[in-house]
Symmetry: C2
Subunit: 216 residues, 2 copies
């Protein structure tokens, strides 16, 4: 089986690992599957050929023999269901780990996306300074709740799972802003994710594309 994913030819974050291909690379490394990467320019992402793979003109996509998928969450779930390493064996524990994947993507990430959008794309707007505290409060509410739930545990529900992979990836978006620093429980959780050998390999692989000099 040959797996091919797509990624930015040049990620807007310059290699911080925040583009969504890093999530898929991480999952592939956790389940020890080799993969090829096809790099795309922003122009190529809007071409019919790519839109046929990804209706919203984004990366990553995932192709293996006869199957084409888009959406990071779906790709990670597909890998997690077919290979050992990202979901527990027990059926109930699996369903709970999948709950955490959806929680990361549909409950925790939306306010973070709103914050990142305000931070990156509304910085020059007259309302930016007055509005930012509101947006940060919405993020903080989720961080508070997540922090309480995690408590003293290493991972969200037993052993590391696809739920943790996704939650750590979502929280990593906050790192450049310093917002995680007010939540030491979550900062330590994210650091545990970053310390995993599979994450390190995924990060290095995207860095080699996006900032070859820093990758050395």
């Amino acid at each position: 089986m040959t797996i091919t994913i797509t990624a930015f030819e040049r990620s807007p974050d310059g290699g911080k690992g925040l583009a969504r291909d890093t999530r898929v690379r991480w999952a592939l490394e956790e389940v020890e599957q080799p993969y090829a990467v096809r790099l795309l320019s922003f122009a190529a992402m809007k071409e019919p050929e790519h839109l046929a793979l990804h209706p919203f003109g984004q990366i990553p996509t995932y192709q293996e023999d006869g199957l084409a998928l888009f959406e990071t969450g779906a790709i990670v779930l597909h890998l997690a269901e077919r290979h050992a390493g990202l979901l527990p064996d027990d059926a109930h524990a699996r369903a709970r780990a999948i709950s955490w994947m959806f929680a990361a993507l549909n409950t925790v990430e939306p306010p973070i996306l709103e914050f990142v959008t305000a931070w990156l794309f509304e910085r020059d707007k007259p309302w930016h300074e007055a509005r930012l505290p509101l947006v940060k409060d919405r993020v903080r509410q989720r961080l508070d709740q997540l922090s309480v739930r995690l408590g003293g545990a290493d991972w969200l529900d037993g052993a590391f799972s696809a739920g943790d992979l996704m939650m750590v990836s979502v929280l990593l978006r906050l790192k450049p802003s310093g917002m995680l620093e007010g939540h030491p429980v979550l900062a330590a959780y994210v650091a545990r994710g970053e310390a995993r050998p599979a994450y390190k390999r995924a990060f290095a692989a995207q860095l080699a594309v996006n900032n070859p000099q820093a990758a050395g």
Copy 2:
């Protein structure tokens, strides 16, 4: 097997079917599983008892013998994987339908959530009028792309699936604003979803809770 979900004692939308329990009710109706509903006040949603079930203090939750889940996407996927009616049999087609579930929740819903937040909670802010067109443009971009992909088809990928259930549910959030009217392909798609007997039963069930007079 006894299934119990939670829902608002009184939904903020007054029975328009936009609270997330409607998505789970719809899935339960599609797969023909009976269920009980436990109604919660806003105060009860913040109590430790509920936070143990749902770390973010929201509805719906899902309980069956020995299993407790939160997150609408995870609950719908759990039902779809265990009962006929929401996912195709073919493994590749199943994975693609799940891609559409994630696309609804992580690509289409976030800009819609941002719009709804601006619409409901930033209406009285001095920046509201100047900012709203930006927020609407982000939604419109997704609607344009989705509309192109759907084209003349009834559903996103072959027969109706959990992907359509979720996408229609996400798009329904735009109905009160009139924003769907500029996208006739999507308005017709949403109408097809609303016309399904399972959706009608789910809608009626939440209306009976939230607006008994309208439910008659």
